[in-house]
């Protein structure tokens, strides 16, 4: 068995992994990137549409162009990487095992590990639809890969279930290919992806969007012949008599993404409700020296935010290796961050009291859209620590706040803080 040593191992070479590795390398630490695909770049490689990099580079790039900027840096800095190499196990002791066609099984001993494995598409939504299981059902990302990378079309006429970003982007892409997208069907009363995509991918191409509807039956035995869609009530129950048949030969699913954390779980790190690892303000998991960033931690809608988060993870890893590695630290004194009203999840999940004097970046998502809301942080003693007004919140947009809790006057003895997004009381505070 081949054995290597490296200060840091980065698992995954998407936008997250690349940026984190570059950050670490700039501090003169050894870093090794391991990627299971045959190229660096991750999911961005199949996103040939533009819309990447507005924040990071203040330019509108395509996915591959965005990735290339980081790949160039990796090469300039001579950061070593292994391609076609799948990590199959990581341990608490920070041993990383990967398989590779040329080298067999590889063991790498690291001081710190950065998890950047990205996410996968959910298939829920299709799986509970009654009917046959014919050919012609794909996730939107699968279809994207077929069309953009392999150069094949999965069908002629489409219905897309779910209004996630990938689904909407594929609706436009397939229309360009001369295919017919009959409808995008969304069970919620609102679109689940970004407004930008609703306008640029659906409305500009007259692709019908049917909200508060879902697919209730799949027709066809060999290949899909069509689907029945039905209106749903408040609790997503089917409204009798609202069924409509739509003829199509392909059903695409765009019902959301979920962090890819099997390795994390097997290593013994805790996961939190959003499917990502439980992390502190340093993006460190419950295992010392294992950090996470990008979609493996929380699903991001913008690549620029992934890059920023990854740089942060990189900086924290440098700090860890230079000042904490190998030292027996006292039992951590922590404060828990709890998602409250209309908050789906929040990162970090916990905060170390020793870092209360520093600015902490909170990221979270709401459960349902709302207007004129108040975002408030309150401790377990019901003291309100922080307040901010926001005109509009939607689940598709990740919210980000930088807060210095000490300056906000947090009671250092508190055990938890709860984040609520609530209808705004009449008193007006400054608009964002």
């Amino acid at each position: 068995m081949k054995k290597y040593k490296s200060d840091v191992v980065v698992i995954g070479a998407g936008a997250g992994g690349l940026a984190a590795a570059i950050e670490v390398k700039k501090a003169d630490l050894e870093v090794l990137i391991i990627e299971r695909d045959k190229e660096l770049g991750g999911i961005t490689l199949q996103c040939i549409h533009n819309g990447f990099g507005l924040k990071e580079f203040e330019e509108e790039l395509t996915g591959p162009e965005y990735a290339q900027r980081f790949i160039n840096q990796v090469k300039e800095l001579k950061i070593p990487f292994l391609l076609d190499s799948m990590v199959i196990e990581i341990t608490k002791e920070k041993l990383v095992y990967a398989v590779n066609r040329n080298e067999g099984l590889i063991e790498i001993e690291a001081k710190a590990i950065i998890l950047a494995m990205g996410c996968r598409e959910k298939t829920r939504g299709a799986i509970n639809i009654p009917g046959f299981r014919p050919a012609g059902i794909y996730t939107a990302g699968q279809a994207q890969r077929f069309v953009n990378i392999e150069g094949y079309l999965p069908g002629n006429t489409y219905v897309i279930l779910g209004s996630g970003d990938i689904g909407m982007i594929m609706a436009r892409r397939l229309t360009w290919e001369g295919c017919k997208v009959k409808a995008v069907v969304e069970i919620q009363p609102y679109v689940s992806g970004l407004l930008r995509n609703q306008v640029q991918c659906l409305e500009d191409y007259d692709i019908p969007l049917i909200t508060s509807y879902t697919v209730t039956k799949i027709h066809g035995r060999e290949r899909i012949k069509g689907v029945t869609v039905s209106k749903v009530g408040r609790n997503f129950d089917r409204i009798i008599g609202s069924d409509k048949f739509i003829e199509c030969d392909t059903l695409l699913l765009s019902v959301g993404l979920i962090p890819e954390n099997e390795l994390t779980l097997e290593a013994g790190a805790e996961l939190s409700k959003n499917g990502g690892p439980l992390v502190d303000e340093n993006l460190e998991t419950t295992i010392d020296g294992i950090f996470a960033c990008g979609n493996v931690l929380q699903v991001h809608d913008l690549v620029d935010l992934v890059t920023a988060e990854a740089k942060r993870a990189g900086k924290n890893v440098i700090e860890y290796i230079n000042s904490r590695y190998g030292k027996d630290l006292m039992k951590k004194e922590i404060i828990k961050c709890v998602p409250g009203e209309n908050v789906n999840y929040v990162k970090p999940d916990i905060i170390n009291k020793r870092n209360l004097s520093e600015e902490i970046i909170f990221t979270f998502r709401v459960r349902h859209p709302d207007r004129r809301v108040l975002i408030q942080f309150k401790d377990n003693l019901q003291k309100i620590i922080y307040k901010k007004n926001k005109f509009y919140v939607i689940p598709s947009e990740m919210l980000e706040l930088n807060i210095n809790l000490e300056e906000s006057g947090i009671n250092p003895d508190c055990k938890s803080i709860t984040i609520d997004v609530i209808p705004r009381p009449e008193v007006l505070i400054e608009e964002d």
Binding site: M86, V99, N128, P130, N156, E222
Partner: protein
Amino acid sequence: MIYDVIIIGGGVTGCCIARNLSKYDLKIALLEKEADIASGTTKANSGVVHAGFASPREYVKRDMCIEGNKLYTQAFEELNFSFQRIGSFVVALEDNQIVKLEEQRKQGTQDGIPGLEVILDKKKIKYMEPNITDDVVGVLHAPTAGIVSPYGMTYALAENAAMNGVKFFRNQKVRRINHQNYTFVIKTKDKEFKANNVINAAGVYGAKISKMVGLDYFKIMPRKGEYIIFDRNAMHLNKILFPTPTKVSKGILICPTVSGNTFVGPNAHNITDKKDISTTEAGLKEILESGRNLVPNLPVRASIRNFAGLRAVPDTYDFVIDNTDVYGFINVVGILSPGLSSCYAIAKRVIEFLELLGANMTVKEDYNPIRPKPERFKDFSKIELDIKIKEDPTWGRIICRCETIPEREIIDAIHSPVGATTLDGIKFRCRPGMGRCQGGFCRPRLIEILSRELNIPYEDVVKMGEETNFLVAKTKEIALQSVEGGNKE
């Protein structure tokens, strides 16, 4: 060429007969109408190897099941399929049901089923199966009951049969059978097969095949059963759980699978269309509601798939296993539940029939009953893995990430005897696409490998048979077609 025996139908019944006959010096062929074997009832059932006490004593299926269960031990050793004798509970929720359990225990024990025990100690029951409802008042424990992968075992049977000389022909739907001078001439769309003996193991189509030789003495009704499968991490069951049976059916059970998932089902609805394996909203609701009686907190949100299977229910409600009046024509149909449990006993019976019919039953010298265990990445230690990959790099290319399946296992599934030719064929043989992402990532890779290994274009790769193609065209083709005067070049 004239075969000694032709078997019609590549379900577990046909494949088990083929394998057990392959021991003898006979020329044997098996014809299957679908693109793959194990495509009918065998693909979609509960996968329970029943202990055998459930059917009333007057039915042949009871004897076959009790004997068949015992024969699993040897078959498992020889064929290396997934099988675990985890034991079953028949669950009583009311005191008056205990009588029924006692009666089943008594009769079962008399008929030679080992280890049957009625347990009334709630603590003990809960210890043995923590997920069971608090309302349980007693259970009948059958330690010899087990779970098996029905298609996995069928592939193993077919592979071993093929190793021992049985010829498999897929995509061969039998359309007509002529019977002249003691020879059967079997016609399919594009081929003709001749045989001295024919075994009808065509499942729900059994009556149709029987009629082809003029035998019209039973009817087969399809009866649908629907299922929901839950994610592996969502729940862990130790035992197969049945409700106390009513007159109509064994009821809806909750059961683990050999790959660690849990399922609930099946219900039972008579239908008329023998191709209707669609699931229904009402049916899925029904099984969940019923399942909750045994396990109140079913992990409904963790369901990963639903499917339905068709029981081939004969009008006698019992197996039709006959050496018929048409000399050389054997019916093995109406194999409803517990057909899977009974298959080895059924095959034994068929061999007796062939002896009576004067077939040459000398055992072949080179008969090899062992089907080697397929090599699995997951079974290797780290050091073994390292050696394997160095010997053969395809062990190091992971195709299915959810189930960690390397290219080698997929190539093996394609090139094994009676190997996979479709995507579903690969999926059911070695599980890529059965995991959490349900094929999201690996499907493009699988299409690439199938296309390469079978030397067919991408667009011709199918899910499960004719007309189930995945990809319809290359990009730009459709757009170009719609441009007037457009040219595909």
